[in-house]
């Protein structure tokens, strides 16, 4: 009736339209804001070959997820730092990612040593730290914000040993391990426990050091004790020459290896001498599942070389974290969001390149519940020709 009433409606409509538009743009600005994930890996120094593989796995997974629409419309942004395989640098990298880059969660570091030094920082700052290559003790026991999907050697080695002993009819073994490297030494500790548990006699135990080039003294001694197999806890840098030199000495028994030996590079580095190596690991390039196949093909195409276990676990880890991010309600408050991630992660179940995966809670030294280990079944394979053939 009056002009006011007539103009009120359009005005109201105009205001609400503006308000709505503002709200929508605010929401989409929120939605457009990327999710920042911190990645601290060894991209230089002695552990670089593992760190670079891991970074590749993360990168490829993040790109895949972003191409598929991201996490509820938000893209993942990786902030990558090089922790050089040194514990001080891991600490510095973590601090930068937590306080300066304000990451939502952290991946890394590469080496177990670095994790033991840097993970307490993450725990103290109440941000999730997710390791994909840390297998030593004392990491997930740090606290409830520490996660890993790297299956510990304590879980893998007994299975490898049992399978190899059964299939290859092994009655007694010799042991050879690197005594100055955390990885190979803890591998040895786990092997020894498994050997004791399975009551397998050991003919002799020999050691070598990182950087050695000649193992013939140890191998000659081992040969003289006539074992049925040699348990080898070594990284590929020493492991491949060990296999070659063993064959040169006429020592032709199978090798039972730890995680370090699970790489397709063994066929190249130990060419002609690579048969008869048994490894167990959560991932195998021969495991022909759909998820794994597409991962292998995509990785090989992008990086011009076959993936290894480190890349596979990183790739899966990114997907696992994404599942948690999808479930978590992210409000924009950094501290709350980090807690939301920590709450959502333990319940994630995912089947990726490494197969079915879930988390398993561990307790710390005093029995209190702490962080989360990987709950995954290892695959045992052996080398024949140019391939790993899966035995079970």
């Amino acid at each position: 009736m009056e002009t006011n009433q007539v103009t009120d409606l359009p005005r109201f409509a105009r205001i609400s339209a503006i308000a709505l538009a503002a709200a929508v743009s605010l929401a989409s600005a929120q939605a457009a804001e990327p999710i920042r994930i911190g990645v601290a890996e060894a991209l230089s120094g002695g552990a670089a070959q593992y760190g670079i593989s891991i970074r590749n796995g993360f990168q490829m997974a993040a790109d895949e997820i972003n191409a598929g629409g991201g996490v509820n419309g938000r893209k993942i942004e990786l902030v990558i730092e090089d922790e050089q395989g040194k514990k001080e640098e891991a600490i510095n990298a973590f601090k930068k990612l937590i306080f300066q880059d304000k990451a939502l969660l952290l991946f890394g570091p590469t080496l177990s040593n670095s994790a033991q030094a840097a993970d307490p920082i993450a725990q103290g700052s109440k941000i999730v730290v997710f390791g994909t290559s840390n297998t030593a003790d004392g990491i997930t026991t740090i606290g409830d914000h520490v996660f890993r999907n790297s299956v510990t050697e304590a879980d893998v080695l007994p299975v490898t040993l049992r399978t190899a002993a059964k299939v290859a009819k092994i009655r007694k073994v010799a042991v050879l391990y690197g005594n100055d490297d955390v990885f190979t030494k803890s591998g040895y500790d786990n092997f020894r426990k498994a050997l004791d548990d399975q009551k397998m006699p050991v003919t002799t135990t020999e050691t070598f050091a990182k950087g050695d080039v000649d193992f013939k003294a140890q191998l000659t001694k081992i040969k003289a004790t006539s074992p049925d197999a040699i348990v080898l806890s070594a990284l590929l840098a020493e492991g491949a020459p060990i296999m070659v030199q063993a064959r040169q000495l006429g020592l032709n028994v199978p090798f039972i290896g730890g995680n370090g030996m699970n790489s397709v590079k063994v066929f190249d580095l130990a060419k002609g001498a690579s048969d008869g190596l048994w490894v167990g690991s959560p991932w195998s390039i021969e495991n022909r599942t759909a998820a794994n196949n597409s991962f292998i093909i995509a990785y090989t195409k992008r990086y011009s070389s076959a993936p290894d276990q480190f890349a596979a676990q990183a790739y899966d880890a990114m997907h696992i974290a994404t599942e948690a991010l999808k479930k978590a309600k992210l409000s924009g408050d950094l501290a709350k969001d980090r807690e939301a991630v920590q709450a959502a992660l333990p319940g994630v179940k995912w089947t990726g390149a490494t197969g079915p995966f879930s988390f398993r809670r561990v307790s710390d030294k005093s029995g209190k519940p702490a962080g989360y280990d990987a709950n995954q079944v290892p695959i045992v394979s052996t080398t024949r020709g140019k391939n790993y053939e899966i035995e079970q």
Partner: protein, 293 residues
């Protein structure tokens, strides 16, 4: 087993001696502990690998290329870094630190260019099979390494003792100032020594890369540590001493693995080293006098 272990010791000892020869030559003539020798060693191996991969060079040519390339690197190090420091008469710790920086830079450069992962020489390059001689497994490569190290040592010794060049080098080793006064072209000989010593390091890199089937950017570091032990045991700057000490270390290591226990190996080696330094610092086999500066 003893015969096999003795042969193992011989080949390992020659591996150590091979590296130490270049290292000790530089110390003897230039008076510098050149801690970039590990990197130079590694560079030679990679140069040979590139030659074989990209140019399809046969092994002998690849080794020659490694010698030349490493030698060139050594020469550049001398000209660009060591010479200015000599001019300045810097205390001898300074060049050592400079060589540490150079080694670090070279290791990282190679890692950036070639990647951190282990590589190897194609297996077609050298037959991998072993022969059985009197019950002992022997490979062609091991025989090659033994031969090469003895030949090199002999050539170096003959040069030093029987030629004029050798006399000049020995004069410089005693006292560069006096040698200069005698009219010896000290500068030129420094260049030559740097070239040859680095080149020898490069050859060692190729041979040891073949032996261990493992090339990686940090491969020179463990050799460097062993090399330091060898030149101390052998008397710093003494060629024959380096050879004997290399063999000695090889035997000590192999025999301690065989008869004491492999985890005692390094303890034995270092214990010996320490003892030698305390009792006879000029080295077990040293005949060279300490240099008069």
């Amino acid at each position: 087993m003893l015969a096999q272990q003795l042969f193992n010791a011989l080949s390992l000892g020659c591996v150590y001696a091979l590296f130490a020869l270049g290292f000790t030559l530089i110390f003897g003539v230039l008076g510098v502990v050149n801690l970039s020798q590990g990197a130079v060693f590694m560079v030679g191996a990679y140069a040979a690998l590139t030659a074989i991969d990209q140019l399809h060079a046969p092994l002998w040519l690849a080794i020659a290329i490694a010698f030349a390339f490493s030698g060139l690197v050594g020469l550049l190090i001398d000209r660009l870094v060591l010479k200015p420091l000599r001019k300045r008469d810097a205390p001898h710790l300074i060049p050592m630190i400079a060589t540490i920086g150079l080694g670090l830079a070279m290791n990282s450069l190679v890692q950036g260019l070639f990647g951190a992962e282990n590589q190897r020489f194609p297996s077609e390059v050298l037959p991998q099979d072993s022969l059985q001689i009197a019950g002992v497994s022997v490979t062609v490569l091991e025989l090659g390494i033994i031969l090469v190290s003895f030949v090199l040592m002999t050539v170096l010794m003959l040069t030093l003792n029987r030629t004029q060049l050798g006399r000049a080098l020995r004069a410089i080793a005693e006292s560069p100032k006096a040698a200069r006064l005698l009219g010896i072209n000290v500068d030129g000989l420094f260049m030559l020594t740097s070239f040859v010593a680095a080149g020898l390091g490069g050859i060692a890199g190729v041979l040891i890369g073949l032996y261990s089937n493992a090339l990686f950017p940090l491969m020179g570091q463990p050799m460097l540590h062993k090399g330091i032990a060898v030149i101390i045991l052998g008397g710093m700057g003494d060629i024959r001493g380096a050879m004997l000490a290399g063999l000695f270390l090889g035997f000590a290591e192999v025999l301690s693995v065989a008869y004491i226990g492999s985890d005692m190996r390094d303890a034995v080696a270092f214990g010996l080293l320490f003892l030698v330094l305390l009792v006879r610092p000029k080295g077990l086999f040293g005949t060279v006098q300490e240099r008069k500066v």
